[in-house]
Symmetry: C2
DNA sequence: GGTGTGTATGCCTTGACTGGAATATAACCG
DNA sequence: CGGTTATATTCCAGTCAAGGCATACACACC
């Protein structure tokens, strides 16, 4: 199994939202449904994808199922990213040197104020 | 603009392959076509997606267009990943402790021999 | 200007993925 | 056992993205 499953699992914004929720703490399906404003079936399906990708694990608590993050696949992502890290470190260094060499008033505004 | 574009751009395995190619060195479209075993139009379309996501930049060289990696968006990915890093570090620590506490012969085989 | 190479775009078809509604399954409770 | 809550699954329709093919565009060379 490649990490193709991982990527396609994380490609969906709702699933990334779920993963982010589970980063705080494990949650039952009901909690996730409320937090994500999704229907229950849809949520269950997303959780299935995440489970199949190995990103989350389930614990049964009476009728509830509590989902928790499994950090291992994230490490795989990090490993994938590693070769690129060297690259952008070089770029940042170059940027830094350029900023140092410039008169002034060329400070960057706070970078990414992105929202997903 | 969110990093939704980034994720969907990298969700495709062919595009990840292209990005990996460009990590080695910038390449013309023709080179990418050959390396990826894709049709030229398909490759061009993938490159468009990557360009729109800010992952690559183009330089024109006569009739050729040479694509190069832009590392900045990868940093965004790294930022996204950062909160999780703490998590799996904890897990690895726990694993390490468990391994230390175990008799022996429980060494892990080399982890992920994954292929994408 | 005409031809050839290199690359991008448009159109179309097909397959995959998503969400909703209804339904099935499972566990608790009286 | 019947009812209720919590979650999973199935079915279906709508959407979107990918690939192939044909074609348009851009540049070079004669």
């Amino acid at each position: 199994m490649s990490d193709a499953v991982l990527w396609s699992a994380l490609a969906d914004p709702h699933r990334r939202a779920i993963v982010a929720l589970l980063l705080e703490r494990p949650r039952s399906v009901g909690e996730i449904v409320q937090a994500c404003r999704l229907s229950q079936p849809s949520t269950s399906k997303h959780l299935r994808v995440l489970r199949d990708a190995g990103l989350v694990r389930v614990r049964q608590d009476a009728q509830r199922r509590v989902y928790a993050l499994d950090p291992a696949p994230m490490a795989a992502l990090d490993a994938w990213l590693a070769p690129y890290r060297r690259l952008w470190n070089e770029s940042l260094d170059a940027l830094g040197r350029r900023l140092d060499a410039v008169p002034e008033d060329t400070e960057e505004p706070p970078p990414q104020a992105q929202k997903d």
